[in-house]
């Protein structure tokens, strides 16, 4: 599977978010992304690597990675080649079963819509 990151102008938002994580969090995130690349969607869901789609979001999934924090970057399949790619849309964490920062799910939905309309709004995944 191919991984893509949402881009806002010249800024890779996913890379920027991941860079701010602790070293242990980054290791957890990168290991889970390595895994995501190697599994098909059903396997990733079965092994609870992915959760979702989140209710009322339509297509937004959570990647589950537990380091120092419960990391839950939001992503979607495709959107251009759904069977072979994921696009990471927004960095997020989970605390008390709630996504943080507030409003992050809406932002992910919006970012997906940008990517659907314009392929240039994403770049190949860049590892932090």
């Amino acid at each position: 599977m191919e991984l893509w990151d949402f881009r806002n102008g010249d800024r890779n938002e996913i890379f920027a978010w991941a860079q701010r994580l602790s070293k242990r969090d980054r290791a957890a995130l990168n290991q889970k992304l390595d895994l995501l690349e190697r599994l098909d969607f059903e396997q990733a869901i079965g092994l609870k690597l992915l959760a979702g789609p989140i209710q009322h979001s339509g297509h937004i999934l959570k990647l589950r990675a537990s380091g120092d924090h419960a990391l839950r970057p939001l992503l979607c399949r495709g959107p251009h080649v759904p069977l072979h790619e994921y696009t990471l849309l927004k960095g997020a964490k989970e605390l008390d079963r709630k996504l943080e920062p507030p409003g992050v799910l809406d932002k992910a939905i919006e970012n997906r819509s940008h990517v659907r309309k314009d392929k240039e709004r994403r770049v190949k995944h860049e590892r932090a």
Binding site: K32, L39, Q43, K48, L49
Partner: protein, 426 residues
């Protein structure tokens, strides 16, 4: 693919990062493997739970890549219920790179005892072992496709293979997948083409440091399994003025390279090289020893030079054992072994009789030599006892058989030989 691997290596240089990554990797690996093997067995989570006397949510919990509270006893119970065993061991960090690089649900599956080629399903029973069938399913479509050589590179390095990769080097299974096909199967030449193409792609054929299954080893071994004119041309190019010429190679690479060189000979180009190595024990640029040289002579094409083998063998053993008391006996024993070796190696060779006759010319003298040696050094009970006391296990067996063949000589016989005999000229 290569980029990802080198990026991971860079990341793992940091202690805190690599320890955290390894924890995550192990947790994910265990969860994924339980799921992979359970599905391989056709079991539901509830079915597996029943076998270990737990409820389905317990299995759901451990088949979660973020689960971290493992209990060895539970893992043992799961392993038994899945018909395999639990292996717990410490690993080097390089292994983490290989593992992470080869991760897939397919590679996590494990055979049941009934499907394990070590226990069942051998070729002797007229069946193609499961790993060979598996390899054929992957290999043949790939050989017929136009895909690049990266997949072959991964297989030869032991990546993307199921558990059978642990028992034998990966090239063995790739080779067997083709070897069980008919002689004129197109897969043979396709595999050689791909292996040669892959060799051209890797830089100087030198393995990566610490790599468990260095790529050049796999390629050379495949070339040794399936000799070809193309293989010979490539190997000529490599050893004459290529990157391997005169290099100190890691032992497995050197050994595989020599095997390939020896088995691919289609002319007598190397004959004098092999003879030089036998005489001098080494060569300026070909990293081979006397034993490699004998193999080289044996596999000369179109016909092995049995005459040269016999002569070379005698020269080598003369220099090695000529001055020792047991030298003559060892020489004789070696030539006996040579005969057996010749019979075994060339049993279907059209000129077998001629070769044996030539070999016979070289070994006629052995009984005479042994008899003379016995008369000088083992003429009395005391001599024999002393020799046996000073002999190691191998020499002791040899001496016992010699003494059995040559009963104690009479005093008159002993006086006829004054000193250790000279060996007959060849």
């Amino acid at each position: 693919m290569k980029e990802r691997r080198s990026r991971l290596i860079d990341e793992l240089r940091d202690k805190e990062y690599r320890e955290a990554y390894a924890d995550q990797h192990v947790n994910a690996l265990l969860a994924a493997q339980i799921s992979a093997i359970r599905e391989q067995r056709g079991l539901t989570q509830a079915g597996l739970a029943e076998r270990i006397k737990k409820q389905q949510p317990a299995i759901s919990r451990i088949e979660n890549v973020n689960y971290a509270r493992w209990n060895i006893q539970t893992l043992r119970e799961v392993a038994n219920a899945l018909g395999c065993w639990l292996d717990i061991r410490f690993q080097s960090w390089g292994q983490l790179v290989d593992d992470a690089d080869s991760y897939s649900m397919e590679t996590l599956r494990r055979d049941r005892l009934e499907d394990d080629p070590v226990f069942f399903g051998s070729q002797a029973q007229g069946q193609v072992p499961e790993p060979v069938r598996w390899m054929q399913k992957q290999l043949f479509p790939w050989l017929l496709s136009n895909h690049d050589n990266d997949q072959l590179s991964r297989w030869l390095r032991g990546l993307d293979l199921p558990s059978f990769g642990d028992a034998e080097p990966p090239f063995v299974w790739i080779g067997r997948a083709v070897e069980v096909e008919p002689e004129d199967s197109p897969y043979r030449s396709l595999l050689i083409d791909r292996a040669l193409g892959l060799f051209s792609e890797i830089e100087h054929g030198v393995p990566r440091p610490g790599e468990q299954n260095p790529l050049p080893v796999g390629i050379f071994n495949l070339l040794a399994m399936f000799p070809s004119v193309k293989g010979w041309q490539k190997l000529n190019e490599i050893y004459q003025d290529g990157p391997l010429s005169g290099m100190m190679l890691p032992a497995p690479v050197q050994s595989a390279f020599l095997s390939a060189l020896i088995r691919n000979q289609v002319d007598r180009k190397l004959e004098s090289t092999w003879l030089t190595i036998i005489r001098e024990g080494k060569h300026d640029w070909l990293p081979a020893n006397e034993f490699d040289a004998f193999e080289g002579l044996k596999w000369l094409s179109p016909r092995p030079r049995i005459d040269a083998i016999a002569k070379g063998l005698r020269e080598m053993y003369m220099s090695q054992y000529g001055r020792s008391k047991l030298g003559a006996v060892k020489l004789a024993a070696t030539f006996g072994s040579l005969m057996e070796d010749v019979k075994h190696t060339f049993k279907n060779h059209p000129s077998l009789d001629e070769m044996l006759w030539k070999a016979g010319q070289r070994i006629d003298w052995d009984e005479t030599i042994v008899a003379a040696w016995v008369k000088v050094f083992a003429a009395s009970e005391e001599d024999r006892t002393r020799l046996l006391e000073g002999a190691d296990e191998s020499d002791s067996r040899l001496l016992t058989s010699v003494f059995g063949a040559f009963p104690l000589a009479s005093p008159a016989d002993v006086q006829t030989v004054a000193s250790e005999p000279e060996l007959a000229p060849v």
